[in-house]
């Protein structure tokens, strides 16, 4: 292999690895706080990318109707008990976030000229549509069984994943989409031409990782999430609401997922079901970190990125096989290093 090709592969690996790192961090976070293995993470990637593509095509994204539908469901689930308990104020709050917001967004989308908006505004709108589905999903799917065994939560995750993939097909059709790059600039580094999109991805990922770090270290909500991750009961006794922690976590996960989708849409064609394979690579990375360590997960993501990039050069047909079988030696290594008798719930 010639040196420039190797450099190009490394660069490709870093680009993808940065995305996997973001997803892996979100997966570790969700698991730590809620014990949910968040399989539907990948659907947020696809929804984010394809919603942006629809906006750029000048169509009101069909995902908006899912947001409205979920909003109605949450309003019913949370509003009825609030009303029964004689707390109309709470009902207003619930309806504000879950009905007024989606409908307001719908109104906004129907008046602005979607196609001619600046790219960043389109991205913001795509995120505004997709990200709130995270907390809504937590409320409807996970909160009723928040204390169930991990296994049940996992099966529910898989069910939610399948539902979202099916809906993805309904919303976006079977056609794949690719969005225009955020930057057409090319950085010339001698033997290596670094496209602007790569720089954007790496920069955004790094910024987000730093921002998350700051959030967890410096803010009260971040600390509340860390406390919940360390000791659920203890955090609850200190007045941290588990459902708030869950919704906040899912908000972050949905945000990371949708943003990853927006970032990769210019470098790969995204189909309604692409997200799963991408998120699964984030999973391999998270498992390298034992679903518990953020730095190890991020390192794992870079490793997965490189492995994928080089195996697509040497044995492109077996790229996925190679990446997913990586999990076997990782599990072996984890298995040899772990010594514990498990008492499951």
């Amino acid at each position: 292999m010639e040196f420039p090709i190797a450099l190009m592969l490394v660069q490709d690996g870093i680009t993808n690895g940065a995305i996997y790192a973001l997803l892996a961090l979100a997966l570790v976070l969700v698991f730590a706080v809620t014990r949910v293995i968040f399989i539907p993470q990948g659907e947020f990637v696809a929804y984010g990318a394809l919603t942006l593509a629809m906006l750029q095509a000048g169509v009101v994204p069909t995902t908006l109707w899912l947001l409205v539908g979920l909003g109605v469901a949450v309003t019913v689930v949370d509003g009825v008990p609030a009303l029964r308990a004689g707390r109309p104020g709470r009902l207003l709050g619930v309806a504000g976030w879950n009905l007024a917001y989606p409908l307001g967004l719908a109104a906004l989308l129907s008046v602005v000229p979607l196609q001619s908006l600046p790219q960043l505004a389109q991205v913001a709108l795509a995120l505004a549509i997709v990200v709130p589905m995270g907390p809504q999903m937590y409320r409807l799917v996970y909160q009723p069984i928040a204390s169930a065994p991990i296994l049940i939560l996992l099966i529910v995750s898989v069910a939610a994943h399948l539902t979202m993939v099916g809906m993805g097909l309904l919303f976006f059709g079977a056609e794949g989409q690719r969005t225009p790059a955020f930057s057409e600039a090319v950085l010339d580094l001698g033997p290596l031409m670094v496209p602007g999109q790569t720089l954007v991805i790496v920069a955004v990922s790094l910024t987000l990782i730093v921002a998350l770090f700051q959030f967890f270290e410096r803010t009260l909500y971040g600390k509340a999430l860390r406390a919940t991750a360390m000791n659920r009961v203890g955090a609850r006794l200190m007045g941290i609401s588990p459902s708030l922690a869950g919704k906040l976590t899912f908000f972050l996960a949905a945000f990371i997922g949708a943003l990853s989708g927006v970032l990769i849409a210019p470098i790969t064609t995204v189909y309604y079901d692409t997200g799963f394979l991408i998120a699964l690579k984030g999973f391999v990375a998270a498992i390298i970190g034992g679903l518990g360590s953020y730095p190890l997960a991020a390192l794992g993501a870079l490793l997965v990125g490189q492995l994928e990039s080089f195996s697509s050069f040497w044995a492109s047909a077996y790229k996925e096989v190679i990446v997913f079988t990586l999990i076997i030696p990782v599990l072996l290594w984890r298995s040899l290093n772990s010594r514990h008798v498990e008492e499951e719930e």
Partner: protein, 600 residues
């Protein structure tokens, strides 16, 4: 008499209907039934794995694929090397080859993931399922995405099973054999060990069950069922391609198990039936309704699954059972069964358990400091002390759950440190738990029978084919004897979870006795007991002492302890502050000070 139907009658009626089905059903319906049978076989494995064992796999479709592709490759390839070619001569040989290959893969995957927390197995199987799917699709020699054609039909006793109606009987014979053997397995010594996996691992290990082995066993069985289903599928379809072995189908199998009723063998059949028929119907109706083509049934399945897990985690089978009033017979206890052999009891006064200068530090905290004690055959020793004195830590050192920082614990002259719970149980130490650990949905009888696990040796295969009945009768008789002995006879067949807390503690003692121990470790046995129950417990322990058993009790109830035990060891701040006869202890100034505070 009971107005409910006998289980045999219901099963018989079901079998008769099934046997007659091809005679009056359309070929299309028979094909559907064939698929239901094939799917039920896979989801049966998942019932065992997920519903009973609390593990799960999303990669079962890949095992089905392994079975299908093994036979497809071996029976259709013309260019096989000589040492392999002979296997392709008969589908029955390729079935064996497939099962063997599956077993190897499952053992490998299992040994990698089963030692880790429960969620690594599903994640591992997910990745492996995807890898295998891509491998089937990209490998030229396996036909790529277009697959392999020209697979021969199976022949049995000279009959070529080349139509749906003919292979129907083979598929359902396989399924019924799988259901019945699974049912048999669950109702056995090994089965109790498997059923203890979900929620009772620490307890089961203390009773001598090798729980890692039990996990591996059910993972292996589930994989083999899937493989056999794949073999049948390949010879029914006569061609294979990768599509039916993808991850989505793997997930669908799990849905079948969960929706049908993940804890019940027949739930697999119900789930496979419901999902297959529903899928058929939804695939017809949804594209028309939504105006486009696609796999929209997954939306419905996914939502259904979420609702089932939120609202009715037991699935459909328990609901269905309520509709058909089938009688549930209590387990029969064979009075004439031969008693189990007993270990040679130690002589009275022989030293059984000895702690020598045991110190256990947790960082800077010294939980046990220089603790020594002895328990002899035929005596009851009480370990008492105020809260936080280090009794539980000491109990953990004695029972081998924890290892002392220094000093040693000798049981029957052998060091306990470094041995796992199973070995210690085998040596004759049996224990109860401070926080009761039993399997609430199993009957009292079965819970107690777990205690006798090490006194039987019949394995999985003999259990599945009912070759274990003589031993099983002896185990159950022993369990029943111990239950009668502790005075829980009237609750023999009740669910253990329905007992009051005090009775559950007594149940734990019966379970411990079932192991035929020479040392009994009781962690607060009298907590939650009423006065009469305490008296009965005291009488029982005295009787056991008379039989030469050594007993160590950690207890708070002074009345109970002082009237019962031979000697008392008192702990405070991790140290022994007094040791002696109950009367002496009651007058000991150090003890009085520890319990009542000093006199200023």
């Amino acid at each position: 008499m009971n107005a409910k139907l006998s289980p045999r009658l219901v099963l018989g009626a079901f079998l008769a209907l099934l046997a007659a089905a091809p005679l009056f059903l359309s070929p299309f319906s028979v094909t559907l039934l064939n698929y239901i049978g094939l799917y039920a076989m896979v989801s049966l494995g998942l019932v065992l794995l997920t519903g009973v064992g609390g593990l799960t796999s999303f990669g079962q479709a890949a095992f089905v694929g392994l079975g299908a592709y093994t036979t497809a490759t071996l029976t259709t390839m013309t260019s096989l090397p000589g040492w392999l070619a002979w296997i392709g001569a008969s589908p029955w040989l390729t079935l064996l080859a497939g099962l063997l290959l599956t077993a190897v893969v499952a053992l490998l995957l299992g040994s990698l993931t089963l030692r880790l927390s429960g969620h690594f197995l599903p994640l591992g199987t997910m990745a492996w399922g995807i890898s295998l799917y891509f491998l089937f699709g990209t490998s030229e020699s396996l036909g790529g995405h277009s697959g392999l054609t020209g697979i021969p039909p199976i022949s049995l006793f000279g009959i070529v099973l080349d139509t749906g109606e003919k292979i129907f009987y083979l598929i359902w014979a396989f399924l019924l054999a799988a259901v019945l053997t699974t049912q048999n397995l669950l109702d056995s010594r090994e089965g109790r060990a498997i059923r203890a996996l979900k929620g009772g691992i620490v307890m089961a290990e203390a009773m001598g069950v090798n729980t890692s082995r039990s996990r591996m066993v059910i993972f292996l069985i589930a994989a083999l069922h899937a493989c056999a289903s794949g073999w049948l599928y390949a010879h029914m379809q006569r061609f294979v391609n990768p599509t039916p072995f993808g991850l989505n189908i793997g997930i669908e199998y799990l849905f079948m198990a969960v929706i049908g009723g993940a804890g019940h063998v027949w739930g697999a059949l119900v789930g496979a039936g419901v999902i297959t028929l529903l899928k058929q119907w939804l695939q017809d109706i949804l594209p028309k309704l939504l105006g486009q083509a696609g796999n929209f049934e997954v939306i419905v399945f996914g939502l259904m699954m979420i609702l089932v897990l939120q609202r009715a985690r037991g699935g459909l089978w328990p609901l269905l059972r309520r509709l058909v009033p089938v009688r549930v017979d209590n387990k029969h206890i064979e009075e004439s069964a031969e008693a189990l052999p007993r270990r040679t009891p130690p002589k009275a006064g022989e030293l059984i358990l000895e702690a020598r200068k045991v110190t256990r530090k947790f960082g800077g905290l010294v939980a046990n400091n220089n603790m020594s004690l002895e328990v002899k055959a035929g005596e009851i020793l009480a370990l008492i002390g105020p809260n936080g004195a280090g009794k539980s830590t000491m109990f953990n050192q004695l029972s081998g759950v924890d290892t002392p920082t220094s000093g040693e614990v000798l049981f029957m002259g052998q060091p306990v440190a470094g041995k796992d719970s199973r070995d210690i149980a085998r040596m004759g130490m049996s224990r109860t738990f401070q926080h009761v650990k039993l399997l609430p949905t199993m009957s009292v009888l079965e819970n107690v029978a777990i205690g006798a696990h090490l006194r039987g040796d019949k394995g999985v295969l003999s259990s599945a084919w009912r070759l274990d009945r003589a031993e099983e009768a002896r185990l159950l008789k022993e369990a029943a004897r111990q239950i009668e002995r502790v005075g829980l006879g009237e609750f023999m067949h009740a669910e253990a979870g329905s007992l009051a807390l005090g009775q559950q503690r007594i149940l734990e003692i019966a379970r411990a006795l079932c192991a035929d121990p020479c040392l009994l470790l009781l962690d607060e046995p009298a907590a939650g007991l009423r006065h009469k129950e305490k008296q009965a417990l005291g009488d029982l322990l005295r009787k056991l002492r008379g039989e030469g058993l050594a007993t160590l009790i950690v207890e708070h109830d002074m009345d109970f302890v002082m009237n019962l035990v031979d000697r008392v060891v008192v702990m405070e701040f991790g140290q022994k502050i007094a040791e002696g006869l109950p009367d002496e202890i009651q007058k000991d100034p150090a003890v009085l000070e520890a319990y009542l505070g000093g006199v200023e």
